[in-house]
Amino acid sequence: MVSGIFHTSYKSDMALRRTPAQKIRLGLFILFILVFPFFASRYTLTLANQVAIATIGAIGLNILTGYTGQISLGQGGFMAVGAYTAGLLTVRLGMPWWASIIIASLVTAGVGALFGIPSLRLKGLYLAIATLAAQEIILWVVTHWKALTGGVEALVVPDPTLFGIRINSEFNFYWLAWALVGITALATVNLFRTHYGRAFIAIRDQDIAAEVMGINLFRYKLLSFALSSFFVGLSGALIAHYRSIVTWERFTIDVSVLYLAMIIIGGLGSVSGSLFGATFMTLLPALLNNLGRSLRGVFPQITSIMPFIQQATFGLVIILFLILEPEGIKKLWEDVKDYFRLWPFSY
């Protein structure tokens, strides 16, 4: 049992992993990520890739909603911007995929900042509704600007190539995706060790007090929108190259709701919460599918109502988590860690 943590230098006090237990857990996790693909089937690798892309998007949304307190229903629209920009750059201009991904993320950051302008005047519910409107407007532009995006038709994107290896299998994409997850997570965690991050948190907690203390609300809110949209655009650009086909149906308001659910269920305001939430919400429909398949002998009509069961479970899970554990899976994980840390005095 630990009776306290005693640091003897600023470096160890400000480190990302301060105790041996934390370092060991992180090491085990990284080991798992590195070893996993060699033992996993193709199906599980697909799931892992989906989780990676969702995690990047969830971390982006968490920067905006979890850390800065700006509720945003525009996730789907921003991902669409990232995906279509990356796809169009690769297809129409023939740019290498890594350049189009970076430029797509920057473009999405710009669009995000643009749609963050209402946050100057709006808070809470009104901002949520404004971002809802932004989502619908972006999607309308995507489906109606035929000359640019092909309208409602799909955009086909070729596979990326890294150091000469074509990334056209789940195994190869896994490394790219999870490397980007690592970079995103590291960047975000370090963001919140800088004064920008602290400003964001101050805005979330009590923005009028933050303004009184000299934080320029407008500038930092726009910065938060831009940073968040950068990662969301990155996630969208990855989808474009992963699925090789970009259609508007992937980026509807349901996707925005899905990502909000991810960060709320996972835990607002934390990178590990985003990972938990993304994993949970991505694995849940897959789990239900498998369950349905195995029950097919007993309930033959279960395959036809499976989409409805998935939708119902989605709604039910959100409601249950909000009522029973509003701080999300991260809180549950913290409780488990605390239990073992304080044992035998964990009451």
Binding site: A312, I318, L322
Partner: protein
């Protein structure tokens, strides 16, 4: 001129139904401070229940309508008790997400019971064409406008003359003061959600009468937001006027400008209103104190 009158009547019909849905939304917000993202699903449930009463149980539409209203009241009370009661005092994002989750759940339940293919709805309002001022419009649209206006007048009377209505306005204004006057706030919440469900159900029945029954009815729920923001989140006359304005705006833009712009014009108006006058035409300004 013909086109103008045609568009006006279409716009007024859609606007009246939007106003009905918005009315329920504003009611819930006024009395319990909750944003109900599931309002579109209440419309859906109303339409489907009436459909099944008339098609599957072969009941006349009057009885079907009464049963629909009873079901709507039951659902309103259930939702309030099971989902909203535990979330009193939680931050707004939790409440928003809870109603979003609820909308998913309700839509899935409706699809499970009735499937998600659009069905033809047996019209209980005659749809023979009527000529007004040189334009032709189906009689069912006129009936829809009439019924919606009737309901809005009834609600106005309810809120100004009846005891329960005045109690609801008191709770919306100041819960603590209302409680100290002996008004049961829990009962008022149940009332608010029931009335909201009933108005949405009737709106859904009216829409289904015109366009048939299908899961896309829930799209009405999204269009409620421009209406309530335009009118003011806590203003009942605002919901009515906002609904009519948005309905007319969509009709005119669709008719005169086209290009599919009518789907998105209400959201553009929404952003403009939010930037210029966030509390809407009739809403009350919230002054935040630190």
């Amino acid at each position: 001129m013909d086109l103008f009158i045609q568009l006006t009547l279409t716009g007024l019909t859609n606007g009246a139904i939007l106003a009905l849905a918005a009315l329920g939304f504003v009611l819930i917000y006024k009395s319990s401070d909750v944003i109900n993202f599931a309002q579109g699903e209440f419309l859906l449930i109303g339409a489907y229940v009436l459909f099944s009463m008339m098609v599957q149980f072969h009941l006349p539409w009057t009885i079907g309508l009464v049963i629909t209203m009873i079901v709507a009241v039951a659902i309103g009370v259930l939702v309030e008790r099971l989902v909203l009661r535990p979330l009193i005092g939680e931050p707004i994002i939790s409440v928003i997400m809870a109603t979003i989750g609820l909308s998913s759940l309700l839509r899935a339940i409706v699809s499970t019971i009735w499937g998600n293919q659009p069905r033809a709805f047996p019209p209980f309002i005659p749809s023979k064409p009527v000529h007004i001022l040189g334009a032709t419009v189906g009689a069912d649209r006129l009936w829809a406008i009439g019924i919606a206006i009737l309901m809005l007048v009834l609600f106005n009377l309810f809120f100004t003359r009846s005891k329960e209505g005045i109690a609801m306005r008191a709770v919306a204004d100041d819960q603590q003061a209302a409680m100290s006057m002996g008004i049961s706030v829990k009962r008022i919440f149940a009332w608010a959600w029931s009335i909201a469900a009933v108005t949405a159900a009737i709106g859904g029945a009216l829409v289904a009468n015109i366009v048939g029954v299908g899961p896309e009815l829930a799209g009405f729920g999204l269009r409620v937001f421009p209406v309530v923001i335009l009118g003011g989140l806590d203003s009942i006359p605002g919901a009515i006027i906002g609904g009519l304005i948005i309905g007319l705006l969509e009709a005119y833009v669709g008719g005169y400008i086209g290009m599919g712009l009518n789907q998105v014009i209400s959201f553009i108006v929404l952003i403009v209103i939010l930037m210029v006058r966030p509390y809407g035409l009739f809403g009350q300004e919230i002054i935040e104190r630190v």
